[in-house]
Symmetry: D2
């Protein structure tokens, strides 16, 4: 059960639709696990084409998926005809990203009319073990589409 009352009852559709327009998600191979009010989970598989020099997933790719998870967690609480913009984020890398697949969880910590703050966690799965790999704090902004003339 969610803590939030939706400002946009089509929050699942709008998140899915916007996600499907993020071409980079296809490049990384990310798919949606769940969309709840204020929480979005994304998953992707290990792929050599995403690695750094030691064969781990590059910290920036982890950040890419965490930013989308946090962004869509924030977007799920925003009113119709608005879009979401990342102002800044910080990622802490806790362990090398070496798994079979990776789960990114983005959660709203503090929603706001203009500014929303989210927390993200990335987990690696290896041999049925789940391990915390990275954390994110992400600050996002709600923009009115009318002012910008764009799609959310």
């Amino acid at each position: 059960m969610s803590l939030y009352i939706p400002k946009d009852v089509s929050y699942r559709e709008k998140v899915s639709e916007s996600f499907s327009r993020q071409e980079v998600m296809k490049t990384i191979g990310v798919s949606i696990v769940s969309i709840e009010l204020g929480q979005v989970e994304l998953v992707f598989k290990h792929d050599t084409k995403l690695t750094q020099q030691h064969g781990f997933i590059h910290a920036g790719i982890i950040t890419t998926v965490l930013d989308s998870a946090c962004g869509y967690a924030a977007f799920s609480l925003m009113p119709e005809d608005s879009s979401v913009l990342t102002i800044e984020f910080k990622t802490n890398l806790l362990s090398p990203a070496m798994g079979e697949k990776y789960l990114a969880v983005g959660r709203v910590k503090k929603p706001g009319k203009t500014i929303t703050v989210c927390d993200g966690e990335l987990f690696a799965f290896l041999d049925d073990q789940k391990k915390l790999i990275a954390t994110m704090t992400c600050t996002l902004m709600t923009l009115s589409n009318k002012e910008r003339g764009i799609k959310g």
Copy 2:
């Protein structure tokens, strides 16, 4: 002329060699512009496969290239037989990333035996205009390869 005296005279070779093992750099299409002691510049072209929902380069991809630029700037000052590990970074997104190509500049702000702090800037080039798109602060660690049994 550099401010630094190299601890490893083969710093250019070791940075190039490590960079060539970052598979994700090939996926994004990044190449090295320059390697100086404490400063590395990387470049990549706009590519639809790297975009978010509005057609801009995804903030996480910007971060990926900035992290590599900062990481190799730090690595250029490290002694032989050491490797570089990113502890954390923060990215501020200043303007939408819409250009023909993008330049990432990573610079050592404070080198240290264990901890090195770098600053990064990402610029977009469009119609001969250069625009600052994002900034990074990145904290990195020097690891001894002997302790780890790995390649830098």
Copy 3:
């Protein structure tokens, strides 16, 4: 019940003793609420001498108390004859700090031999209401006192 096995059984005494040497804690009026393995809570009262231009507690003072809470949470897990050093932190300000008193909770997110990452939360209490005011992510380092010739 704690998740951790103490590396230093005198962890409460060493945290208290180090805290008592932080002169700035007296200036702000901070006292210890609790010291557990990997978690420290600190409290202070509203005081006009700590305010910014609108009468709220200055974000930097909030950060000072959160940094000490996180630092001592990390320190509680460190071995004897070591000291704790803050490498960096990030604070998000979620609501204006206007209360009768403030509680800072520092918690270890990921302990490590060299690097420890902590999360902090600052709450304001006003009319029996508890409100989240600020969050922190803090990266800390364990230093050996033998190498440094100092007290923890």
Copy 4:
């Protein structure tokens, strides 16, 4: 010569006036060195009452002064009848803060209608040597006073 055209010609007066209402600046002993469009410098002397357990200035006090320097650098570029709010900041601690006095420099990196990003640097002065101690990245917001019914 400044890069900026003032939106409020009384920017020096409004910064000074707001600074004088920050009670915590008196507690720390901070005074204004200079106010330029997009750049503010503040200074304070070493004082035992601001120290952590090893006798250095506490990282949070450094952050307090850097946040005010960055905040007023941003405020100097804002229109009349607006006030400045810190959304978040990150501080990297580069060297122990042990000096006779400390200079905080806050500089606007990217001004904006709603969001402004600033960089800060804190220097220690000891025996006529100037040393970089800490850096900050700070994200701030412009608020309309009409909407809030308050003073800037």
